[in-house]
């Protein structure tokens, strides 16, 4: 059971972004796509979600080819958390989360009592039930990100895919969001997130893929792969390593 890519080439109709991607995201694990900005992380995510057609190679979801699944079936298996944005209209947080139930209802159907119960449960699961009636446009960036995670969970997916979940968040909120992400994997979801911060990958991911220029430089356990040499190769700039008395690592841009 996994979301798997083999020899995947991806990109847009007129331009290839990357190729030769081998990846398998399993239930219960957290995987980080680490790399500099503008090197194809988001495009790869969109391809894995089925939002962009693969340009070559194979993509499968629990053994079935991803392209053979309908858009609704994909949405019931893969939850997507985009980068938090302000939104155009002042929907309440509860309304935003309820939209996660789209793929569970017919085209003309109103949300059922069950749909509302699931949405409410996801708000509680992420500890933001108190925000339910607040306009999404008026809450903080961290709260928005959590609301989008709750919306993705309302899809009741088996895998959850997050694009730079902490990119626009302040220091405290980064920790809150990442701790929730870790918890989701403990509860059995397969979690994939992109980040440009090696410390985040080191601290919260089981496995990492280092992505540069659309190619995987390396892929494997986070602790083994996140070495100064690999990071220099990945970012093309110097990296300073700090280590505390317990042997825990952190990286600083050098």
């Amino acid at each position: 059971m996994s979301l798997a890519a083999s020899a995947l080439a991806y990109g847009y109709r007129e331009r290839e972004i990357g190729r030769d991607i081998e990846l398998a995201l399993k239930a219960g694990e957290v995987m980080a796509l680490l790399g500099p900005n503008g090197h194809g992380k988001t495009t790869l995510l969109k391809t894995l979600l089925g939002l962009l057609p693969a340009r070559g190679g194979g993509l499968s979801l629990d053994g079935q080819p991803l392209a053979a699944l309908g858009i609704g079936a994909r949405a019931r298996a893969l939850g997507y958390v985009p980068q938090a944005h302000a939104g155009t209209f002042a929907f309440t947080v509860a309304e935003i989360v309820l939209m996660g139930r789209t793929a569970h209802a017919g085209l003309f159907a109103a949300p059922s009592a069950h749909d509302r119960a699931v949405a409410r449960a996801m708000l509680e699961r992420l500890g933001i039930a108190a925000l339910a009636k607040r306009p999404y446009t008026e809450i903080s960036g961290g709260e928005r990100q959590l609301a989008l995670v709750a919306r993705a969970l309302a899809q009741e997916p088996r895998y959850i895919i997050l694009d730079e979940p902490t990119a626009s968040l302040d220091f405290g909120n980064q920790g809150k969001v990442m701790a929730q992400i870790r918890r989701l994997a403990a509860e059995g979801l397969g979690v994939l997130f992109t980040t440009h911060d090696p410390n985040q990958a080191l601290r919260y991911a089981d496995r990492v893929m280092l992505l540069r220029d659309g190619h995987a430089l390396a892929s494997g356990p986070a602790a083994a792969l996140l070495t100064p040499d690999n990071l220099v190769a990945l970012y093309g700039s110097a990296v300073e390593t700090v280590r505390d008395a317990d042997g825990r690592l952190a990286f600083l841009p050098g």
């Binding site: 858009i71 609704g72 985009p82 944005h85 155009t88 209209f89 002042a90 085209l107 003309f108 446009t137």
Partner: protein
């Protein structure tokens, strides 16, 4: 924004009720609410009413059809405006963004230029609106680059401006003594000539289009998210966009065919409705319809009674809509609640 749906809808219904009473009570031949109820009751029960025949004529043949037409056009424009604002994720969009009004206007202007009958002119307007939006959609979907929504809006702007040139050319050719005043009058919008036979061609498309939009109200919430988010949530955005554009265009074209070009209603009323019940389309669409109906009816009553000669509707909606919209911009504080 503390928006209570029940209170919002009560306010909207109250305003519509006041507008209806006002529309019958004001004018050269005032009809009180008691007379209307008496006349409708007589019609329902099949007994002859004891009202003077002139009052009956005013209710059933003169003011009644005009009131109904204002209600239908106002509701149609408001619902179409709300739908387009959601679809294009832009609160400054109005129902004519894809050229429905300019297409209908060109159709009608050609009809007047060719000295066609009233019904044929309305048909030309209706077809013109549909063809214009169809053309915009066809051209827009051949362009594969970029955000499909943005491409559609830009195509609409370009085609709309081309249609405007067409209207200008016909006006230039038109007979300045007979045709030009008729064209000008029509382009400014009016319900003055509305009679009972005009209601059916308006009612049908408005009911069908509004019905489709109401049936899709939950999905329209998701459509107002960025394209890729909506698809990741499992919504087939392409076909749904066609359905929403078709339904909103249908009601807009029907309204323009019946009443000419009435700007601002489709832009302002959805904001007012969002102010009352919030942005959720399941509540927004019904409230926008009720408010739009009351708003246009009140404006039409003003158009009939404010001056010895009828004022064009488009002038009044602009005069009232502009300051209102500026106030809205100033008080909206960030989100478009």
């Amino acid at each position: 924004m503390a928006s209570s749906p029940l209170r919002g809808n009560l306010i909207a219904l109250g305003l519509l009720g006041l507008a209806v009473i006002g529309a019958f009570a004001l004018g050269r031949f005032p009809v009180g609410p008691g007379d209307i109820i008496g006349s409708i009751w007589a019609w329902l029960s099949g007994r002859p009413s004891d009202l003077p025949p002139q009052v009956e004529t005013v209710i059933w043949n003169i003011r009644g059809p005009r009131v109904l037409a204002a209600i239908l056009c106002g509701a149609a424009l408001a619902v179409a405006g709300a739908a387009f604002q959601g679809l294009f994720r832009n609160p400054l969009v109005s129902p004519d963004i894809l050229g429905a009004s300019s297409g209908a206007a060109l159709g009608a202007v050609i009809g007047i230029y060719l000295s066609l009958g009233l019904l044929a002119i309305q048909l030309a307007a209706f077809v013109g609106g549909l063809v214009a939006v169809g053309a915009v959609y066809a051209v827009g979907s051949t362009i594969r680059r970029g955000d499909p929504v943005l491409v559609l809006v830009l195509t609409g702007v370009v085609v709309g401006s081309l249609l405007g040139a067409g209207i200008g050319l016909i006006k230039y050719w038109a007979d300045p003594y007979n045709q030009l005043p008729a064209i000008t009058f029509w382009l400014l919008g009016s319900l003055a000539g509305t009679a009972r036979p005009d209601l059916l061609p308006l009612l049908g498309p408005v009911l069908v289009g509004t019905g489709v939009l109401l049936a899709l109200r939950w999905r329209m919430n998701v459509m107002s998210l960025p394209e890729e988010e909506a698809r990741a949530l499992g919504l087939a955005t392409g076909p749904l966009r066609i359905a929403i554009v078709a339904a909103a265009t249908l009601v807009t074209a029907a309204s323009v065919a019946a009443a000419g070009i009435i700007g601002w209603v489709g832009l302002v009323v959805p904001h007012l409705a969002r102010f009352l019940v919030g942005p959720d389309f399941s509540r927004l669409l019904p409230t926008a319809a009720i408010l739009g109906a009351g708003y246009l009816l009140a404006i039409d009553t003003l158009a009939r009674t404010a001056a010895p000669v009828e004022t064009p509707l488009g002038i009044l909606t602009a005069v009232i809509g502009t300051p209102f919209f500026i106030w809205l911009l100033a008080s909206a504080r960030g989100g478009w609640s």
